[in-house]
């Protein structure tokens, strides 16, 4: 029988079912999880290092290419992971379509904006333009 041949005409007309995006989402969650294990370990070490210094020390620390790149990657991967994670939480608990869509968009906006602002700020400091 052809693909989808078992569905009733009404079921086909309603068109509900998998959006065929599930595998990509699932793999994305796992890939970011694995990446975040070493990144977060470095992040805790980095936080302890930076917290010991003042403004000038923090600027100098972020001026080192490895620190700037690792922090940018940590932020980017974290915000991407957070976007996927909170999306699932919203989809699990919020069933009213208008609230759900609004929260999903808000989640996307917060993660996108905060992530972009944070990475841009890191690069700005790294390129020696802090406070400018």
């Amino acid at each position: 029988m052809a693909v989808g041949g078992y569905r009733t005409p009404l079921s086909r007309a309603r068109g509900l079912g998998s959006a065929k995006h599930g595998v990509g989402h699932w793999i994305g969650e796992r890939v970011t999880s694995v990446l975040l294990i070493p990144l977060v370990l470095w992040g805790v070490y980095a936080a302890l290092t930076v917290a010991r210094t003042d403004y000038a020390g923090a600027v100098e620390w972020l001026g080192k290419p490895l620190n700037a790149v690792l922090l940018s990657v940590l932020l980017a991967v974290s915000f991407h992971h957070m976007h996927m994670g909170l999306r699932v939480i919203i989809e699990d608990y919020i069933h009213k379509p208008s609230s759900k869509v609004m929260l999903l968009l808000l989640n996307m906006a917060v993660c996108g904006l905060a992530g972009a602002l944070a990475v841009f700020s890191v690069l700005k400091v790294a390129f020696g333009a802090a406070g400018a």
Partner: protein, 149 residues
Amino acid sequence: MSQTQADMQGDTAARTRRPRGPDARPLSPFLTVWRWHVTMASSILNRVAAVGLYVGALITAGWAIALAGGPELYGDYMALLGSIPGQVLLFLFTAAVWFHLAAGVRHLAWDAGVGYHPRTANQTSWASIAFAAAATVLTWAAAYMTGAA
């Protein structure tokens, strides 16, 4: 013959047989015998930690933005983080980092098909809670000893 009748007549074969029929519905979850399981607690805790990390990531983003904003803004931001509510927030952030990390490793193991036995799942639940508690205390001990906190 119903299950109850079989029991009264001492029919052990019927008693140990898997219950069938409409009157043999599963009894669990049943309110009078319901109890918390550590796997359930750690599952909920992992979601709570995830939402907490959302706030933590925004705090981290705020740190980068404050640093880019110059010494004055950075000083204000660090004073805010150094206040008692700020330190409590950072302590909870640390705990969420370690718990979510441990729980995340458990999830990756499950994805590989490992650790599903109830006993193993209970043990790794307790292990991740213990790991998070110990790592949080150690992180803050390191922070105080190195002058970071």
